[in-house]
């Protein structure tokens, strides 16, 4: 049996300049947690082009307002923002019904996480801290939250500060489209010194991690600053199976 030309088996290799380096000088955890041996190239098989289609039945979604803990509850401190975008594959086609998980620090730069217990920044009892949404039939997602604060990485010799960023975890359409990334805010001066954003060698690659501010007159409501952020995952369906 020869490979079926109707199957979407033509994944492009990663473009390395558009993806982060594995080893990041100054980010010491990268030095001891990455394999010393080279990664082994393998063929894509059915296992790599399939993935869970029923995740939302196991992971509750619809948690789209991180700025408060209940629908009419008090808001967390900080600038209210609306983040919207599309989840697309490499052909620009929407990835529908995909789970997106997001989490970030509060406006003071502190996470609601036991790992951040040493932070001198205050907790915010009204901040939800994380959300989980599903893309719609056009691949769109949106959530409301407060703009995260910057924070210093503890005990770092170069006084590395993380700029405001939102962690985004995406499942996409299959195993190969799984992506965890971070969204940054445009024109923040701390973007220039961030070791994580700047681990991506190409300027175009870094630009793909930075959201675009929505023109104010295009915002549906007055009380939110808007950001647009499309996310592209690996894979394509230009020759979908069975069509």
């Amino acid at each position: 049996m020869s490979p079926s030309p109707s199957l979407p088996n033509h994944f492009l290799p990663y473009e390395d300049a558009g993806q982060p380096a594995a080893l990041v000088p100054g980010y010491k955890e990268t030095l001891t947690r990455n394999p010393a041996r080279p990664l082994i190239l393998r063929p894509a098989t059915l296992t790599e082009i399939t993935g869970p289609t029923r995740l939302a039945r196991k992971l509750p979604t619809g948690i789209r307002d991180l700025s408060r803990k209940s629908p009419n509850g008090p808001r967390a401190m900080g600038q209210l923002i609306l983040v919207r975008g599309r989840l697309l594959d490499e052909d620009g086609l929407p990835v529908r019904g995909s789970v997106i998980e997001l989490w970030h620090a509060n406006a003071a730069g502190r996470y609601m996480h036991p790992m951040d217990a040493q932070s001198p920044a205050p907790l915010d009892e009204n901040f939800l801290g994380s959300g989980r949404v599903l893309t719609d039939d056009q691949g769109r997602y949106e959530f409301v939250t407060i703009k995260p604060g910057a924070y210093p990485v503890p005990n770092h010799p170069q006084r590395w500060w993380r700029p405001p960023h939102i962690h985004i975890s995406v499942f996409g359409d299959g195993f190969m489209s799984r992506l965890v990334t971070q969204m940054f805010f445009p024109a923040d001066p701390l973007n220039d010194i961030d070791l994580i954003l700047n681990a991506v060698p190409s300027a175009q690659g870094r630009a793909r991690m930075i959201a675009r501010q929505t023109p104010m007159l295009e915002m549906p409501v007055l009380n939110l600053v808007g950001y647009e952020h499309d996310i592209v995952v690996r894979g394509d369906r230009q020759t979908p199976f069975g069509k």
């Binding site: 490979p3 079926s4 199957l7 088996n9 473009e15 558009g18 993806q19 982060p20 380096a21 594995a22 980010y27 001891t32 947690r33 990455n34 394999p35 010393a36 041996r37 990664l39 082994i40 393998r42 063929p43 894509a44 098989t45 059915l46 296992t47 790599e48 399939t50 869970p52 289609t53 029923r54 995740l55 039945r57 196991k58 992971l59 697309l88 594959d89 490499e90 052909d91 998980e101 989490w103 609601m112 996480h113 801290g129 994380s130 989980r132 962690h167 975890s169 299959g174 195993f175 799984r178 965890v180 990334t181 954003l197 681990a199 175009q204 690659g205 991690m209 592209v232 979908p240 199976f241």
Partner: protein, 202 residues
């Protein structure tokens, strides 16, 4: 159509929300209701994750993806999706504990003829490793012992050194927390250093 370039990956960092690990997320044998279980031999997979110097790596995220007991995926890209077990989740997630420990409950996956490569895939489970210090996730594949199809599996065979490939074979071991009567396999994940686990690039 102009091709889009994938968004760069970035580390999960140390602050992945602990409540994202729900009860039963590391049990692939049910979808909605624990009373309706997947078909096949229920198995327990456990081990520890280590970074360089055999230091246990806690707060690491592991995810599994595999076919059901008959080698089917409940996904439109599988021509046999219609036969997939409706009670098999196929996906699971687990957080490593302070000593690097993790475990999953699943069923032994079936072999299948892969339509992309035209080759028979031996029973196998895909594993993703994500965490602080990993700018991109690491991926590998677990295989089962005493499977004559391992050597001809296109992913197993992609590893040039047979001794390295054999590191991906699960080892039968008494499960530290396996339910009674469930066969247990150990798989330690060594991110760097002696006994380093082979990882792939897709």
């Amino acid at each position: 159509m102009a091709r889009l370039v994938p968004t760069p990956s970035a580390t999960v960092g140390p602050f992945f929300p602990p409540h994202y690990f729900g009860d039963g997320d590391n049990d692939l044998t049910f979808v909605d209701d624990k009373a309706s279980r997947a078909q096949g031999e229920r198995i327990h997979i456990f081990g520890r994750v280590y970074e360089a110097g055999r230091v246990p790596r806690w707060n690491t995220i592991l995810e599994l993806w595999q076919a059901d007991a008959n080698g089917c995926f409940a996904h439109p890209n599988d021509p046999r999706a219609g036969q997939a077990d409706p009670n098999f989740m196929g996906w699971g997630r687990r957080w490593t504990e302070d000593d690097g420990y993790y475990d999953f409950t699943t069923v032994k996956p079936g072999a299948f003829l892969d339509p992309l490569t035209g080759k028979q895939r031996a029973p196998h489970i895909n594993l993703s490793v994500m965490g602080s210090g990993l700018m991109r996730r690491l991926v590998t594949t677990l295989f089962f012992p005493d499977e004559p199809g391992n050597a001809g599996d296109p992913v197993y065979a992609a590893i040039p050194d047979p001794a390295v490939a054999s590191q991906l074979v699960l080892r039968p071991a008494p499960g530290e927390r396996a339910p009674a009567g469930v066969r247990a396999y150990r798989f330690d994940i060594v991110l760097q250093g002696e006994g380093e686990t082979p990882f792939f690039i897709d």
